[in-house]
Amino acid sequence: MNQTITSKDLYGFKDIRDFELLFKSHYQNLCSYAYLFLKDPDISEDTVQDVFYKLWKNRDAVSIKTSVKSYLFRAVRNGCMNVIEHMKVRDGYRENIEGGYNGEKQETIDHAIVSELELKIRETIDRLPAERKKIFMMSRYEGLKYREIADELGISVKTVENQMYQALGFLRENLKEYLPLILWLIFIKMGK
């Protein structure tokens, strides 16, 4: 979706210092977000930097109607979709590109900074069908309402509702052994 554009609405990064703050406060999360789609840390970082680069270059021409944060997330998602498209073409429409780019490159994971639960979560999200995964991520990480997702993807709200129900059910079933259940215990206690 295209953004309409006027520079004065641009949430106050008048100078590079504001922009620096914006960059520093969102960079990490945006990279993680991109990584969920692309599964390659370097391409993910490039994609995110590209979004920031374009935003800065076009700062006089871009206006953000939503929050800067949702703008960035959306831009990164679109960037990822482009990368995936590109990869598909490059790899000659290889079949195994369900839900993200699966390059030959074996991903290396530093277990010191990624926990077991995080790995499991990512793995489970990856197992969602591509469209469902995208909808889930838009809802979960971009904080979009059902209506906004429906409008952006050109589908009905009911479809979004259904996909989200399926997605959460799937995630719950696959993650339930890993989730910490402190409240659960409290509830049992109060049963008496």
Binding site: I16, R17, E20, L21, F23, K24, Y27, Q28, N29, C31, S32, Y33, Y35, P41, S44, E45, Q49, F52, Y53, W56, K57, E107, T108, I109, D110, I113, V114, S115, L117, E118, L119, I121, R122, I125, S139, R140, Y141, K145, Y146, E161, N162, M164, Y165, L168, G169, L171, R172, L175, K176, L179, P180, L181, L183, W184, I186, F187, I188, K189, M190, G191
Partner: protein, 344 residues
């Protein structure tokens, strides 16, 4: 009533969790949640799933944002640096200037990095306090939640409290309208216990050395308190009230709600089969009006009604119409006439 053990469309739980649900559906889910611990357990698993999947922290390698910015911003400079460069007179001057410029850049970078660090450290520590003295005050917190503080109360919270969980500390009495955000529960701590919410409106009373009271106007909250070293919790839904007894920490649910519980916060009066004698007493108190009742039988009528920020004339008019009473208005004085409710 549809609040049996498994008697709910599971889709509604997801809608509820994501705050996409209708008012009607919300009520249904809350009743279902209140019906059994089994149900709450199921919902809790769903909301935990949602919460845990929401952490966007994972990335397979460490990112040094400061360094990344430094190299990234040089890309921006190359692009933006098409400034007018005045031709230099001689190479020596140029070098000196260059050194000055280099020094300035280093200094600036150093300052900006230090500043960012300082700011970050500071916000962690910085607590903000909202305090009312003689007056009720209202404020909007950074997450959009609205708080009304009754007289002589105070509320303390971290300045950056939207970042992780939304935790506030209360002394006194407050009414909250919480912005829904299931990923970041809103937690109110008082001396005797705490309340955990998912987006709702409720009030907490926690003055020193008195019982702590929680009244839920809308939504669902979980109230916890420690008793003899154990954490005890209680789930409260719309219209319910929980109390932690002072000083032993016993947690109980109270059935009877005082009709003017929320009057100070939103001028709301909630009557549930309340005798008119009490209704009039409260009206006299809050509206500083004189109300005369001609016939003792009138006081026996039982009123069920909610008045939301209404004027006293309107309230009395409604009461009059409900029980076939005449309301006469004099100089700052109302006289209520009629047969009343003798036989019930």
């Amino acid at each position: 009533m549809k609040n049996g053990k498994n008697d709910i469309d599971r889709r509604k739980l997801v809608l509820y969790l994501l705050d996409e649900i209708s008012t009607e559906g919300r009520r249904e889910v809350e009743l279902w949640l209140a019906a059994s611990g089994e149900n709450r357990k199921e919902y809790e698993l769903l909301s935990k799933t949602w919460k845990e999947t929401g952490k966007l922290g994972f990335f397979p390698k460490e990112i040094d944002t400061d360094k990344t910015w430094d190299s990234f911003s040089s890309r921006l400079d190359e692009n933006a640096a098409k400034r007018n460069i005045t031709p230099e007179k001689n190479p020596y001057q140029r070098t000196v200037r260059f050194l000055y410029a280099a020094a300035a850049v280093t200094f600036l970078t150093w300052i900006s990095i230090t500043m960012v660090r300082l700011i970050q450290n500071d916000t962690f520590k910085k607590m903000e306090t909202l305090a009312s003295n003689e007056l009720v005050i209202m404020d909007t917190l950074t997450d959009g939640s609205i708080v009304r503080l009754n007289e002589n109360s105070s509320l303390t919270f971290a300045k950056n409290f939207r970042v992780s969980e939304r935790k506030v500390k209360l002394q006194g009495e407050a009414f909250f309208e919480v912005m829904p955000d299931t990923a970041k529960p809103f937690i109110v701590e008082a001396e005797l216990g705490s309340v955990r919410v998912l987006g709702t409106s409720f009030q907490v009373k926690g003055f020193r050395e008195t019982d702590m009271e929680v009244y839920v106007e809308e939504g669902i909250v979980e109230m916890s308190a420690e008793k003899d070293g154990d954490m005890i919790s209680l789930v409260l839904v719309s219209g319910e009230k929980g109390i932690v007894k002072y000083p032993d920490g016993e947690l109980v649910k109270e059935g009877v709600i005082t009709p003017d519980e929320l009057f100070w916060a939103n001028r709301k009066l909630i009557f549930r089969e309340t005798r008119l004698s009490l209704v009039f007493e409260l009206l006299r108190k809050h509206y500083k009006a004189e109300i005369d009742v001609e016939n003792e039988e009138i006081n026996k009528c039982l009123l069920t009604a909610t008045f939301d920020n209404e004027e006293i004339d309107q309230i009395l008019e409604v009461i009059g119409a409900s029980f076939e009473l005449d309301v006469e208005k004099g100089e700052n004085k109302f006289t209520i006439k009629g047969r009343g409710c003798s036989n019930e």
